[in-house]
Symmetry: C2
Subunit: 478 residues, 2 copies
């Protein structure tokens, strides 16, 4: 296919204008610039931006794009961190934000059907008002869209108990290159007819087609939630706290870790509630019925305060079996909110440490968490850079923020070197390059550390079945 | 490819003998007959049965099979109901029962790695002894294997709260035709690198490759369980009971429905505990901590005994809002067991009604359950045949047993006609032909009711990437 197409031909432009009247088509650099990037800040080259409101327009677009061999880049709110939305080859950007209707919330089916541009928290509020629950809650929940969540298989804090987006997608409609309309799955909670094309789309990063309609599984809304913040004397002690919780047979909704460096960071923006002796923390959410939740909160306290009975000669065990040095808990949204506001403040606080960030979201087998955190700390020391670690330790998923000053060439070089070392460390532990963000452009250079040539070859052949000319988000993800 | 190969050539036989010494290769009809069928009782034609103990043997086999264009049929215990294991074209049957090692149970990773031939309940006992939990529990749990569960995306009663096999497969090793060894995923609980080849294998019914190793996610074992049996005055009232449970915000572990016909059936084998006024029942399992479970049992009783406050002019509403006419509950394995033994007795009891059965496992959107059950009852009446309905109504998944006497040509014809009508009814409600069993051979004739030509074309192209010559379980599933 053509890789050089710095502008649309007059015929192409006219064809697009026929499909997308008025401001549904954007062509000038002033209009398209904002669609050239995503939250990962890489820049691409939109030849045009189109904003469909109907599936029929998407069909026409993908007919045209196929005929003209034009690369196509679908996007929602572009909160993607890894450049998955970026038109790195000149092509057509498809903003799905005008396809943002909640089409159906079926109380008795426990199903919602939505267009891809629905903002995740808007859906959540709509279903919660009816006593229903859509669990996936990526940190970007107030800006990201369901379509984007499907494209990345978004996770979030509640994934520990409730799973990721994959677990909630029952069926979808997708338009394929050439304008073919594919319906997969349906509204049934169980369905095992044929190969699972539905879940193949989940996490495919826009490389197979454009999803125009999504059927989502809903659950009954839990009656009550509670949040605990437990502060430990060290990172090691906090990790042993994680083990104690699971050994007690508890599966929390969320189990977030805050490293000492992150606690220091938070303390720069607000007076922290915890005493100075706290050098590692766990932020834990539980849910349940109004009657049983107080018992579960007590059980969690008991689990954290009891030694897990293990012994060993590994360094840190002696420390690790120490209970929390401090804890607080809140029951109900009002009491919980300050604790989660603190958690949300981590990402902005990070920029108080350094103006630039390389944000990774690696995951390791859960039992290797302490090894991974210790190894990352050693990398930080070796490169004399602050590396902030926090995140969904219940899933073994750690956000690794490598902070540096982009104006300082030495720090920039060291940050890049540290990134490579983190990736190698993770892979040495059977970990994954990404637990949530995906590959996009940012992680393609590291893919060879994780995927075998056979895997990538198969992925490309599978893509070929959907997108034989390779116009859907080309060269991304795999 | 060759479709006529009534016996192996001398060279093929010699090659197989080289790979599979001694009784790892079975050739005589007396030896291979038992491998010619599965629980669906269709018969095929094994040219040979091989019983690998190592992945290396599977690699050699699939090299040979590819070179010789020999169809390959993998199987575990063959509890499959739809002929998915049957060598309907002459080919090589691969029994994976000798690859049955639990390779690893990692307490802190919450991961088990197993070979495909491990029996599901053996794995469950092994992990439960260590305070861990593998939720998928197909009814065949004591005979079916993890490999078979993966091939069919097995569900079971606990799927309502805990999901199906797909949700627990983190990674796998599969040997592809030609002997290529594919590793997908890994041991991380979250992983979004590349297309999801792992879940593509789940439910693929042996059409892509032979899975030789599976990494499974485990959960902490819940401390306690309880079971309730609630008896209602009618099927309609029982279905309204389902609605009441969900409206109360309760997500039970299991929620099984027993139709009046099934209750009668059970009563033929044992003196039922329920009074005659019970004409529909729900069997419900809850789990939780020792402290909170009694509260949850009470909450379930409250939900069932309270009107859901809805009103309407639909027939059955007036009846439907009636509370159970009888209920019983047991806490802990010993007290629960008689209730589940009764549930397990349904399938054998069915043969007291008629000697032959067509067993379907359709699913509908949950809100259409009563419509589906009513429609199936009308089909039974129209064809004057007993049709037993029961199963996982929490998921909208109903087992439909169409009972008939195979020695009676009229009943046989009516049973076939009723099957077609059930399938059409289900599809008219956006339901699925199979919630658990899969397609295999049995449902291929109905596939056009559910899959579009585009879907089947894409599935076949995806298969082509893995199996270009079409030797893996050819012509099955899609």
């Amino acid at each position: 296919m053509s890789t050089q197409a710095p502008h649309l031909s007059a015929t192409q432009e006219r064809s697009l204008r026929d499909i997308f009247p008025g401001d549904a088509l954007l062509l000038t650099p002033e209009q398209t610039l904002v669609f050239a990037t995503d939250a990962g800040r890489r820049m691409g080259t939109p030849l045009a931006v189109v904003r469909p409101t109907t599936e029929a327009q998407v069909v026409e677009l993908l007919r045209l794009a196929q005929a003209e061999r034009l690369p196509v880049y679908a996007r929602g709110r572009a909160s993607n961190q890894v450049g998955a939305c970026v038109p790195d080859r000149p092509g057509i950007v498809v903003s799905l934000l005008h396809m943002n209707r909640i089409l159906d919330i079926a109380d008795d089916d426990f199903v919602a059907e939505v267009e891809p541009g629905v903002v995740t928290s808007d859906l959540q509020r709509a279903v919660e008002a009816r006593g229903l629950f859509y669990p996936p809650d990526p940190a970007s929940i107030d800006i990201s869209t369901i379509g984007g969540n499907v494209a990345t298989c978004a996770g979030g804090m509640r994934a520990l108990k409730y799973g990721v987006t994959r677990e909630y997608v029952l069926g979808l409609t997708a338009v394929l290159p050439g304008g073919r309309v594919l319906h997969t799955g349906g509204r049934c909670h169980k369905n095992v007819v044929g190969l699972d094309l539905t879940r193949l789309f989940v996490g495919s990063e826009g490389t197979l087609g454009i999803v125009t309609r999504i059927a989502l599984k809903l659950l009954p809304l839990p009656q009550a939630t509670a949040t605990l913040l437990a502060g430990f004397a060290s990172m090691e002690a906090a990790m042993h706290g994680v083990r104690r919780i699971f050994r007690a047979g508890i599966l929390p909704v969320a189990l977030e870790f805050l490293s000492p460096e992150v606690l220091d960071c938070v303390a720069r923006r607000q007076t922290p509630p915890w005493p100075d002796s706290v050098r590692g923390a766990l932020l834990i959410r539980l849910d349940g019925s109004r009657e049983s939740l107080p018992l579960e909160v007590r059980r969690m306290h008991d689990a954290l305060h009891t030694s897990d009975g293990t012994s060993g000669d590994a360094p840190g065990d002696a420390t690790g079996n120490e209970p929390p040095v401090w804890s607080a808990h809140g029951v109900g949204r009002d009491e919980e909110e300050p604790l989660w506001a603190m958690r949300r403040g981590i990402s902005p606080s990070a920029y108080l440490v350094r103006p630039n960030k390389i944000g990774e979201d690696i995951a390791v087998p859960r039992g290797r968490l302490l090894d991974a955190l210790t190894g990352i700390r050693a990398i930080a020391q070796a490169h004399d850079l602050p590396i902030l670690t926090y995140g969904h330790v219940g899933d073994g998923n750690i956000h690794v923020n490598i902070m540096y000053d982009g104006a300082d060439p030495s720090e920039t070089t060291r940050a890049d070197a540290a990134t490579v070392e983190v990736m190698r460390l993770v892979r040495s532990m059977d970990g994954t390059l990404s637990g949530e963000h995906g590959v996009g452009m940012a992680k393609k250079e590291f893919l060879h550390l994780q995927l075998s040539p056979l895997e990538t070859e198969l992925m490309r052949q599978v893509k070929h079945a959907f997108d034989p000319l390779g116009i859907m988000n080309p060269d991304k993800a795999y």
